[in-house]
Symmetry: C2
Subunit: 188 residues, 2 copies
């Protein structure tokens, strides 16, 4: 295998092992076996399990979500929520996210790394969407992008992970209208 192929194989093996057995029971041996590489190939790249998992997961969490300007804040929101709800329902993500959150509650280093990766990504997304809406005159100047993140992603996550109710187009439309109303009503 080429060097880049090995990295991809390891990354896929880590994600699948995380989904199947969770961080606590994940072993470098099992990752190497699954990726079809030797353990040295792993130790050449990362010095331990924590470092390996955190780098791979952060890379994915920080990937840019392509968000074309749909022309309205409600449209932008609906598109973002559609993408996020698909991502959260993905077979691998829906196993890995709760597992890593449980690890984060026990291990401050995991909590800080994940928080850092998610913050960067979410802040950038919210600034883009809110910025566009302010320019269009849809939201008041000074709308808080952090509050926007909580309102855009929190209800979706709650519904998927906690109430476990299905999310359809109608719900996304209703939620997008609600969040637009929320940001108009929030004092900046």
């Amino acid at each position: 295998m080429l060097r880049g192929d090995i990295t991809v194989a390891i990354r896929n093996a880590v994600m699948n092992e995380l989904a199947e057995v969770g961080y606590g029971r994940l072993s470098i041996e099992a990752v190497a076996r699954r990726a079809g590489v030797g353990k040295t190939a792993i130790y050449r790249r990362w010095s331990n399990k924590l470092e390996m998992v955190m780098e791979i997961v952060s890379d994915i969490a920080e990937r840019k979500v392509p968000l074309p300007d749909t022309g309205s804040f409600a449209g932008d929101l609906q598109l973002l929520m559609f993408i996020v709800s698909k991502a959260l329902q993905h077979r691998i993500a829906s196993q890995i996210i709760p597992d890593l959150m449980a690890e984060a509650a026990r291990n401050p280093q995991i909590a800080e790394t994940l928080q850092g990766a998610l913050r960067t990504q979410q802040q950038a997304l919210a600034e883009k969407l809110v910025g566009q809406a302010v320019t269009r005159g849809e939201l008041p100047e000074g709308t808080d992008p952090k509050l926007a993140v909580d309102l855009m992603l929190g209800p979706l996550y709650w519904r998927l992970a906690i109430s476990r109710d299905p999310i359809g187009d109608e719900y996304l439309e209703q939620l997008a209208a609600a969040v637009t109303g929320a940001l108009k009503a929030a004092r900046p």
Copy 2:
């Protein structure tokens, strides 16, 4: 110990063990030791670990939150969010909730039990708050209590568990105003 005291001791032991070692590593032996009772005292009450943990956790999740009518929807919301954010930040809850969510992602029986317990409680809360607001003329007739739950609890949970930003009075006030705006703007 009296019968009721034994049940309380077991319940406390289960919650503390859950917080410390998580569901996966929790053992009936450790719970008995911690509660100062014999294993038979546990097996007289529950036939296995899953049944024991689910009954105890559901009981707590279903406990009524006392919610006095503050006279306005924004006031009711702020009070609810204050109580929920304190509960989610509680030392034991902040360990147990992510752990059980991770278990729920692996075990459909855990997912269904937790979902059932939370749904009943949240639905009742939302119906009460939304009902009062509709009576006061603050929200339109037909406002969806399920959407209200997602909007009232999702952003708080996201902020506490995922972005891990602090929640102060100012934020709760801002969020309460936003959620009120959201429910006014959502098509019923």
